[in-house]
């Protein structure tokens, strides 16, 4: 546990020592602000983050979080620091979990910035705080999955560009493509399969204010699978 925290702190520090943290913060604030300003913060609209979460957040996170995760392991592989790291008394799983935790904490900071919007909304109408909490919980789970996927691709290559492209493409497929295809396909079992694979359809219940254990299990287990794969990928590197 100690090593995981040490690793997480280093990663969190590294974000703020490089421009990444600021770039990601800027992109995130700009895009969510735009979506909120043009979509939700208008006369007659509902005083909730529902529309922001429903259409925008899935897209914004699928781009912003891979920027956050692309360097996590790729950079160590490219610069050779992986050698000093993995010859210190720390296991591969501690490295992966520490890096995951570091990125997750940064993501929580990002999420905290959107709390500004419900405060603004509360000035003009009643905000359903239970719904808001549910939305945020869904965003947290979805973000954790995105980070785990990004971390896995970062462990696969020493080129950050390759890592980010792979994660964005995979996240886009499972967030949008599978969701879209599910509405088009006629064959029942394929449709159900696509729905189950679609990150968006799992996320929608959270947007509606529903915490379904099914979806929680989906996000958590999928994230764990990707973290496990990242650990295995790092362990494999030793044998090459």
């Amino acid at each position: 546990m100690g090593n995981i925290l040490v690793m997480a702190r280093r990663e969190l520090g590294a974000y703020f020592l490089s421009p990444i943290a600021y770039v990601v913060l800027a992109i995130f604030l700009f895009t969510t602000g735009l979506a909120f300003g043009l979509g939700t913060f208008q006369p007659g609209e509902e005083a909730s983050l529902r529309s922001l979460c429903q259409s925008w957040m899935v897209l914004i996170l699928a781009i912003v979080l891979p920027i956050l995760t692309m360097r996590l392991i790729s950079e160590e592989l490219r610069s050779g620091t992986i050698e000093t790291l993995l010859t210190s008394p720390i296991s591969e799983s501690q490295v992966v979990l520490g890096k995951f935790l570091g990125a997750l904490v940064f993501y929580v900071v990002l999420l905290a910035t959107i709390l500004l919007y419900p405060i603004l909304l509360a000035c003009f109408g009643p905000v359903d705080f239970k719904l808001l909490l549910c939305n945020l919980f869904g965003l947290f789970l979805m973000g954790a999955l995105y980070i785990a996927v990004g971390l896995f691709f970062s462990a696969c290559t020493k080129h950050q560009i390759v890592a980010i492209l792979c994660s964005v493409v995979v996240l886009a497929i499972f967030s949008f493509a599978s969701h879209y295809l599910a509405t088009k396909v006629e064959i029942a079992w394929v449709r159900i399969l696509l729905q189950h694979l679609s990150i968006q359809s799992h996320f929608h219940d959270f947007v509606r204010g529903l915490v379904d254990l099914n979806h929680v299990v989906f996000f958590v287990t999928t994230a764990v699978v990707f973290l496990f794969l990242a650990v295995k990928k790092l362990e494999m590197r030793r044998w090459q």
């Binding site: 040490v6 520090g13 620091t81 000093t84 010859t87 008394p89």
Partner: protein, 316 residues
Amino acid sequence: MIRVQNLSKRYGSFLAVDNISFHVERGGVVGFLGPNGAGKTTTIRILTCYHPATQGTASIGGFDVFNQSMEVRRRIGYLPESAPLYPEMRSREYLKFRGKLRGLSASDLEKAIGRVTDRCWLGEFIDRPIGQLSKGMRQRVGLADAMLHEPDVLILDEPTIGLDPTQIRETRSLIKELGQRHTVLLSSHILSEVEQICSKAIIIAAGRIVASGSPQELRDQFLSKGRVIAEMRGPQVEVEKGVRSIAGVQKVDISADNGWVKLTVEAAPGRDIREDLFKLTSSNGWSLREIRREGATLEDFFVQVVAQQSIKRSRD
């Protein structure tokens, strides 16, 4: 302290390390010497638990590098060849991070950082971002990291590569000093470096150990095969006959040069025939203008064994 037995490492079809065995006692600086691509880094990576071996075993301080890897990692300090560091961090932050990974407490860590800052002459550079440091300074930060937790064994892969002459001299004297408190395994392809700072050298070429011993032993081993070169004025046939009659002479090359007879004589190991040669010339009344033992350096030995090894390997 370090024990390696029948170790092999294969990358695909390439055999990088071919069944090597050696052991290193506690204390002192041991040089791991070989040309580039000889398998030094591969062996070091096995010892530091970065790569597993294909065959054979290795242990450090009695702990197996594969089965008790965490125990080994706690006891070693490792400086990889390129001294990789995180450029965005300051040296002090980096050392703190590394110290915490090794489980040093906050107060120990503070002391340890002070100690390595002194010993590696980091001075004011300790608070600069690593990305702004020169190659030499970075090497020192890497070294500071390796000795932060006072490990039993320090493993340094080409620690002086890329440094300027002053830095090389400083680093060498530091390593020599470190040898008094730690067991240092140092890899190098520079022979004079090993000759200067190591109490023992292991020469590796094409994945095999070709010789090992103290620099003095290695030199003796080579010198024993030393040759004597002499030039004297006398009748060639008689000179040859006279030289061949000296006890222990094994091989004589003789050539005439403008009235002088030039001799290259190889004698039995450990036998110095210079005095006999002198007596031969003086008793015959021949004049002598040169007599010398061929100046063998460790360099010659190194070149010779390495060449033999690569010939052997290409024949295999």
